[in-house]
């Protein structure tokens, strides 16, 4: 146990202590680029009543839900393919998907800007084959572009999580169902989806939290309709110098993430889907 002390001490000093100080800041009064007493709930009131915050929070929720839904929706068939369909190509596909996880975050954002722009690859390609005459303007600098780039960033993680969830399911389980005449939609509904409910929910929350709080992608791809609450937190802190407001907004976001997780877990438990153990 003693061997863990250096790492644990580092985590305390560079993770928990800073978070505690940040939490204290959320209850202090703002002074430009600083804080002062008295302790107050004003920052929380400001964060909740600010109309810009509300709009941006709503944008974040939409972006987070769309990104997480697309990731899980595409991740389930991919995990299924890796577990039950693939033969020798399985390891190669797994390698490619894991490798793409390590492609630089900023490079992906940049890549989508060159793909989706007015004179971007997609517009030029469509024009070259004669599908359109005028470039499509609606694909960059909006929510759609942000969601596309975030799906690109998080899909590999989701595939790995769902594949790990699918791994304990024996192929013979599906075969037994098929021998008894079950259609594949029945197998998905009655066998795979109940087993995958908990991992899918975990992956959903993971992607929702990280995409709803992302502050870089919306700056480059989001325009006005794609701006999110993460950008607001960053500008409250850096540009406006209102530290308590940035802190209060952060902790409200964290609280809602925690609430989402609690409510979802409770629902899974009520539906008896939270911990399905498979006899091997």
């Amino acid at each position: 146990m003693l061997a863990a002390i250096p790492a644990a001490a580092w985590m305390l000093a560079f993770f928990f202590v800073p978070l505690l100080i940040f939490a204290v800041y959320s209850f202090l009064t703002t002074r430009l680029y600083d804080v002062e007493t008295p302790f107050t709930l004003q920052a929380y009131r400001d964060a909740l009543s600010d109309p810009i915050n509300r709009t941006l929070a709503w944008n974040s929720i939409v972006v987070g839900v769309l990104t997480a839904s697309i990731c899980v929706g595409a991740g389930l068939p991919i995990a299924y393919w890796l577990r039950f369909v693939a033969d020798r190509s399985r390891l190669a596909v797994l390698f490619l998907i894991t490798a793409s996880m390590f492609a630089s975050y900023l490079v992906r954002i940049y890549a989508w800007r060159t793909m989706l722009g007015k004179n971007g690859i997609i517009n030029e390609a469509l024009r070259a084959i004669g599908v359109i005459d005028e470039p499509l303007n609606f694909i960059l600098y909006n929510r759609f572009a942000v969601v596309i780039a975030l799906v690109h960033i998080f899909l590999p993680y989701v595939v790995l999580v769902l594949y790990a969830g699918m791994n304990p399911v024996s192929p013979s389980l599906l075969e037994a169902g098929q021998d008894l005449g079950a259609s594949s939609s029945l197998l998905w509904r009655r066998v795979l989806l109940p087993i995958m409910a908990a991992p899918s929910f975990n992956a959903f929350v993971f992607v929702f939290v990280l995409s709803a709080s992302d502050y870089v992608t919306p700056q480059f791809l989001g325009g006005t309709s794609g701006a999110t609450i993460g950008v607001r937190v960053q500008t409250s802190f850096i540009t406006l110098g209102n530290w308590p407001l940035a802190a209060a907004t952060s902790f409200l976001m964290l609280a809602s993430f925690g609430l989402l997780h609690l409510v979802g877990s409770a629902l899974l438990r009520r539906m008896h889907l939270h911990d399905i153990r498979l006899a091997s």
Binding site: F15, L91, T98, A111, L160
Partner: protein
């Protein structure tokens, strides 16, 4: 032997996803070799001019060196502290194991925005001036959980009988660790260290808040993205992709040496301690 399922739909999703994941990156790489300044079709021929251009920039070279220094420091400290912590986590049956694991793995769940902001606040409070060292200190928090995921999984799969035999023959715990445990796992630990290096090399979200006047490669890309629109960004991006992907491939090769896809943290069927 069970036969494979057939599913044209799932196969189509896999192919579409691989195209979706790789085409945009390949386009970035392709245009880094563009002979003219345009970033879109038609492609007018290959040249290395954008690589020569960025290499002339002092700011770029300094950022590259800074990133390497930060990543090396982060990787080295992560390896030492992470290996010790992973050993403790895998060996202990203490009641403190659960809170300890929580302490070490929790940063995995918190968005970098909050980690970065709260560190910035703490450094400001403590009067620590921001530099590459504050960046490395912050990166350690970010990469440690990933290192531990791999290291703990590997150490738990080891056959305890070997360690017990050594201990029965009178070896001290330190000797058991260095002469029996480490030789079995060092390739995986090296692989995990390269992973830590790669994660640190590419980190932007936290770095943005805790860096001083210096720049790292991702920060350089960030400011280029706001300034310029020409293929020199593609050239920098291609270099960054090449570096992180090479580190990943190295890490993948080392961590999968023992069993085919252990590095992917996919539980091996049949449970722990059946290897070797």
């Amino acid at each position: 032997m069970v036969s494979r399922q057939r599913s044209p739909f799932a196969t189509a999703v896999v192919i579409a996803s691989l195209l979706f994941l790789f085409v945009p990156l390949l386009v970035v790489v392709l245009f880094s070799f563009h002979s003219v300044g345009a970033l879109t079709l038609p492609f007018r021929g290959f040249s290395l001019r954008w690589y020569r251009e960025i290499w002339k920039s002092d700011e770029f070279r300094t950022s590259l060196v800074n990133s390497a220094v930060v990543a090396a420091a982060t990787g080295a400290v992560t390896m030492v502290l992470g290996t010790l912590a992973a050993y403790a986590l895998s060996a202990t049956r203490s009641r403190l194991r659960a809170p300890l694991a929580l302490l070490l793995f929790l940063p995995l769940t918190l968005p970098g925005l909050f980690v970065g902001l709260s560190l910035l606040v703490m450094f400001g409070r403590a009067g620590v001036s921001l530099s590459l060292w504050t960046v490395a200190g912050a990166h350690l928090v970010y990469v440690m959980p990933y290192y531990l995921l791999i290291a703990v999984a590997t150490l738990q799969r080891l056959d305890v009988a070997l360690e017990e035999a050594a201990a029965d023959l009178g070896a001290t715990r330190w000797v058991v660790f260095t002469k029996v445990t480490l030789p079995q796992v060092w390739p995986v630990l090296m692989g995990a260290t390269f992973l830590a290096f790669a994660l640190s090399f590419d980190e932007f979200v936290i770095t943005f808040f805790v860096i001083g006047p210096e720049s790292t490669l991702p920060l350089y890309i960030f400011s280029s993205l706001r300034r310029t629109v020409d293929p020199s960004i593609n050239a920098i991006s291609t270099l960054l992709l090449a570096i992180t992907l090479a580190l990943f491939a190295l890490s993948f090769a080392l961590t999968t040496r023992g069993g085919r896809d252990q590095a992917l943290a996919v539980p091996v069927e049949g449970g722990r301690r059946e290897q070797q």
